[in-house]
């Protein structure tokens, strides 16, 4: 049983409202992505993080722009929580020139170095070494930043995770490895093909392993804050397994080619633990006015609509851009 940390966490009201806003922004963004996908407006694969937003929000709420993150194919939430603009996010997902990567990356590869986002990644576990290397930069250059590596429970079975935990441990790198344990590796329940507990996998490397309720934004925030403090003190990496559930499909539109692989009742059960409704209940019980929360919801929905409008108005990149950006030009 995971310890209930949120009741023990006190955060000031404006931060609480900001957390709520971020959660709502990501949910609204992702629901719109689903809608756009159904309309056939989005090229390629899209993976949404509905039900998992609290991990991105809780984590990024204790980071600064100076800190780096790497993300996954299910990375929209991480980007937004790290400060990405929804309009430029949509533009990237639409493959437009005003997207973060000028339409070169798409949904699975959004990067913004100014925000410290080293990239979502289309390869499961692919970003783990990159986050580790960003931690190395901090140590070599004497910086005080940290690096956060988001990965999924599927990536927990990639060997490179163990290589990274070892390296980060021996070099005491300021890296926080956050496993979003959403119960599924693509279409297979994680437990079917995964030995033991993921959070315990760091223990042999001398790295703390912590399990947290990933649907509780305050609990995530608390454990990540502790790990970040530890990293900034030069005490090395932490592995956090944030337990959640993938309410959404692995990839949007999968039912067109796939039989059902999980009972609807499971999904319904997890909807009852929805991180946003739970947090809203908490805010109301703290005495926050419902009208304030409703206003946030309205504002974020409007933001998303404006973002889509911005993206749809953005042109596709010119064909000449196909040949750009393969190599950097020295001194340019």
């Amino acid at each position: 049983m995971i310890e209930d940390l949120s009741s023990k966490t006190s955060v000031d009201e404006s931060t609480m409202l900001d957390l709520y806003r971020q959660l709502v922004r990501i949910r609204s963004f992702e629901e719109k992505v689903q809608e756009l996908h159904k309309l056939g407006k989005l090229p390629g694969f899209v993976h949404v993080c509905i039900g998992e937003e609290a991990i991105a929000v809780g984590t990024c709420s204790v980071l600064t722009t100076r800190d780096h993150i790497t993300s996954t194919h299910r990375g929209h939430g991480h980007m937004i929580a790290k400060g990405a603009d929804v309009g430029r996010m949509y533009a990237e997902i639409f493959g437009r020139v005003d997207g973060y990567c000028r339409g070169k990356g798409g949904s699975m590869h959004i990067i913004d170095t100014k925000l410290g986002i080293l990239g979502a990644n289309g390869i499961v576990g692919g970003g783990i070494p990159m986050a580790t290397g960003a931690g190395l930069s901090e140590v070599v250059l004497g910086g005080n930043g940290v690096s956060v590596c988001f990965f999924g429970d599927g990536a927990a079975n990639q060997g490179v995770l163990f290589e990274a935990l070892n390296l980060a441990s021996i070099w005491k790198l300021p890296v926080i490895y956050i496993c979003e344990s959403n119960n599924f590796m693509e279409y297979t329940p994680t437990a079917d093909l995964t030995a033991g507990h993921i959070y315990e996998r760091s223990i042999p490397f001398g790295v703390p392993g912590i399990e947290v309720d990933g649907n509780d934004v305050l609990a995530v925030r608390k454990v990540v804050q502790e790990a970040v403090d530890r990293a900034r003190r030069g005490e090395g990496p932490t592995l956090i397994e944030a337990v959640t559930y993938r309410i959404a499909d692995h990839a949007e539109g999968e039912s067109a080619f796939l039989d059902a692989y999980r009972p609807d009742s499971d999904i319904e059960q997890w909807r009852d633990r929805d991180p946003i409704s739970r947090f809203r209940t908490r805010l109301l019980s703290d005495g926050i006015d419902e009208g304030v929360l409703d206003e946030i919801v309205q504002e974020e929905r409007a933001r998303v609509e404006a973002g889509v409008e911005f993206a749809e108005a953005s042109p596709f990149p010119s064909e000449e851009e196909t040949l750009d950006h393969v190599f950097a030009v020295r001194g340019a």
Binding site: G103, K104, G126, P129, M130, L136, L167, V326
Partner: protein
Amino acid sequence: MAKLYFFQAVRRAIEVSMEEDETVIVMGEDVDLGAFGVTSELIGRFGPNRIRKTPISEAVFVGSAVGAAATGLRPFVDVMFSSFFYVAMDQLMNQAARLRYMSGGQVELPIVYFAGTGPSGSTAAQHSENPHALMMHAAGLKVVMPSTPADAFGLMMASIRDPNPVVFLGDLSLTSLRSEVPDEPYEIKLGTADVKRPGEDVTIVAIASTVRTALDLATDLESEGISVEVIDPRTLVPFDWNTVANSVEKTGRLVVADPARRLCGAAGEIIAGINERSWSSLKAAPQRVTWPDVPVPFSPPLEASIEVTKADLEKAVRATL
């Protein structure tokens, strides 16, 4: 001017680069000792913060270099044997070679991936690769493969200063090669071929260790009145098409020597590129001399049998005359 062995020249370039730029770091297995001498004794000079000895975990250190380069460092990564790139292929091909493009040009990745390469005396199929063709195909990796100590120095200086991932392959059969390297630091621009010997009748484009073989042959053929031009491309990506095309337009004949397998190799690519550019100048079908399409064998006579020899090269040259 001092005489340096091939890998000493590489080492000197690293040392000079580390002195001039404190963001240059070294990572790899046993780099405190330096497997081929390229990083030996640097630790005493620059300390363990910049000379990072890694565990035998190619995937994570090849990939960490990407994150480190994206956040302010210039890693020199010693992969040791080029066969070991295959252990880290996701990180090399899907990450290092992709990140700049996928980010729409936001990221510069100044990384040198160095490895000793090619057969070095019965090290067999898992320590003898010449994987340059694979790297050439990546779209996002520069590929450097020099043939002399002086070139190795100048090209390594340029590679470390380059804002892109550079795969720098040091041919292990050049280990005992020792020749003069200018004392003052200099660099050789990536993408500039070198005419190692001028000639009039036939152009040999020779890669890495085959340059010496081609020069030997050119000397032999001179007595017969056959004038051979030997070009060392030095870097395969970017490739200096102009120098090769100008030569072929003069000689009308092309032979490519490549110490690597034939199928989809650099030799085939160079010939195709020259066919496209200089077709009307060609007086004979271009020839290539390569390994056969086999893994590198262990047994000494079998290993020797795949080498690009002077006799193979001579046969190819005569076929164009």
